[in-house]
Structure formats: C-alpha cells, structure tokens
Symmetry: C2
DNA sequence: TAGCAATGTCAACAAGGCTGACATAAAACG
DNA sequence: CGTTTTATGTCAGCCTTGTTGACATTGCTA
C-alpha cells in the first residue's frame, strides 16, 4: 500500500485519507471547480460569437508565438479539421495571422494580431482574476499542492507538454 | 510562508508568487489535468454509446439516491431539455429508475438500477484509480491544498452545493 | 524523381449545450 | 372550489465542437 519511494510511518495516514469518500470529494471538486474556471471567459466569448475552442487556440498561440499548426494540434489534442474551423474564423476576423514558415515553407507560423492580443488579454484577465483570488485565499502551500496533484493527474504525454511549456516561461 | 489570514510580512511573497506566469501555469494545469481526468471514463462510455453527460447524471444519482429532477438540474447546471435527453435514454436502457414521489407526486425520485450501479462502479473505478494515483504520488499535504484551491475556485452557488454534498458522505 | 509531411478543405455525422413553446398532473393558495 | 404555480416531459430547431473519410496542394527529403 505504500507508494513510491517513501519510508514508513505514513501508512496509516495514506490509508485513512484515500477512502472512496475522499476520492469522490476530489472528483466532485474537479467538476465544480472546472465549471467556475471556464465561466468567466465563456461570458466574454459568447457575445462575440466565439466558444471555448477559440479561447484555447488564442491562449496557446499567445503562449507560444509563432507556433505551427501541428504543434497546436498536439497541445490541444483535437483533429486538424476541428482546429482548422476555429483557426479559419480567427484569421478571417483578423485576430490571428498565419505566416508561411521561413525554414520550412510548408509550415504556418501563427501569431496574434493587435486585435487578437486584445481579446487574449480580456480572456486572460478574467480567468486570471478568478485563479488569483483562489490562490490568494488558499495560500502558497495550497497552491503548490494544487499544482502537484494536477500534474500527477495528467496523461504522461500531456504532462511533458505542460512541463515544456512552463519551462520557457520560467 | 504560512497561509491563510496572516499578518504583515507576506506581501513580497504573495506578489512574487502570483506573477502572470504562475497564474498561467495554474490555468494550463487545469486544462491538461481535466483532460486526463475525463479520459478514462470517456473510454468506458464510448462503446456503450454514452457520453460525459450520462456519466455526470449517473454519478450524481448514485451520490444522492432518490434525488429529484430539479435537484439534479441545479447540480449539473444544464437545462431540463438537455438533462431530459440523457435521462430518457438511461431510463429506456434500464440504468435509471424514475419513481413518482411519495410526499409530492409531481416529483420524480431517481435511482440507479442494478445495471446502472454496475456502470457507475465501472466509471467510478476508472476515475478513482487515476485520482488515487495522483493523490498518492502527491501526498496528503498536496491533496489538502488541491481541494482548498479548487473550492476557492468555484462559484459560491456551486461551492454551497459541493459542500452540502460532501457533508452527507462525511 | 518518388514519396512523405504539413496544411487546408469539403462533407457528413454525433454529442450535448441552448431557446421557445406547449402539455399534464399535482400542489398550494386565496 | 377555482386559480395559479410547480415539477416534469416533450417537440422542434439551432449552435459549437468534436469525430471520420477523402482529397488537393505545396514543399522537403531521400
């Protein structure tokens, strides 16, 4: 029952704390929190005729300026047809610019236009406000734990991408 | 360093720790973790022709046996038309039973049938396995922080519902 | 030059949100 | 008792966002 590389002395605690009920609490917390997490951006997107998919695209293009379509596909984990649909509208609406790659001309490098950056800021501000408030209320220790658990919950593939993303911004 | 409502001396830390970059990490962690969180149940649901909406209904009916449609609507935060669509298929397929209320005959009390309980168990087992692994890997302190942050991230309305749910099961 | 890679696009379909309108039965109210 | 409100169900239609399959173009690469 012990897990991982830990010495004795915490067996009882581990057992006590991983009851069905505790796990259920964690599961329900994820459900309700994710709802809140997406609600503010959703409100901003709706009147502009965009959805969550647009938000995600804008977020990761901002995060990794000049990223390629293939890279974005891997991060988002959707099909190219699905991504292309939102990407097309964003480009048509002048929020995203698609430049032919310099090294490899088959690739498209994606950038936010000034208008795109405005939307990104609006979405970020709203979402960050909620996360910041939650972080402040919970305190630094809780935040560290929060991220540790979330990271452990990711698929290994996604965890690698996540860690690669955050390395840059370190 | 301590957390919660503390006196002076923590400004620098709070400021340091709530950089844009830190918030972004938290946001991306939510995105990637939620993906993993839903992936196992999704794989179970797909061959049976069900989706996440069915999972949620089954989960909360299991959680609050005999709950009413209205209560379920409030917890899930969807329209009755949307809920009714999944509820109807679950009832037709014999996974959920809808009994006329005893006190108030307008109400329908919802229960899982034996077959419904089997599906619920399969879904729970899969999702709990991932959460349990993540919790074990992260350790008790991290788990506490995880739940503190998630709770702080919920809309107040949802937080109340969440807390009410977990009170029973305590 | 042949083949593979990166991208885009068309078409069709499904899940699961939404709104609006309407129906029924039962409770609650005056 | 009659009226109104509540709880539920249902039909129809729309939207976003995911899917698969097929196919075209361009440009690398061996």
């Amino acid at each position: 029952m012990a897990e991982g590389p830990r010495p004795g002395g915490q067996h009882g605690e581990t057992l006590l704390f991983l009851t069905d009920e505790q796990l259920r609490k964690g599961i329900e917390a994820m459900f309700f929190a994710y709802k809140g997490f997406t609600s503010d951006p959703d409100r901003i997107l709706e009147p502009r005729g965009y959805g969550r998919a647009h938000h995600r695209a804008v977020h990761f293009i901002h995060r990794s300026e000049g990223t390629t379509v293939n890279n974005l596909l891997a991060i988002l984990g959707v099909t190219k047809q699905s991504l292309n649909r939102v990407l097309r509208t964003l480009i048509e609406d002048g929020l995203v610019e698609s430049r032919v790659g310099t090294r490899d001309k088959r690739e498209r490098n994606l950038y936010l236009t000034e208008e795109g950056k405005l939307l990104e800021r609006a979405l970020s501000d709203a979402q960050q406000a909620r996360v910041r408030d939650a972080f402040r209320a919970a305190g630094p220790g809780a935040v560290a734990g929060f991220r540790t658990v979330l990271e452990a919950m990711m698929d290994p593939e996604m965890r690698r991408r996540y860690q690669r993303l955050t390395e840059n911004g370190r």
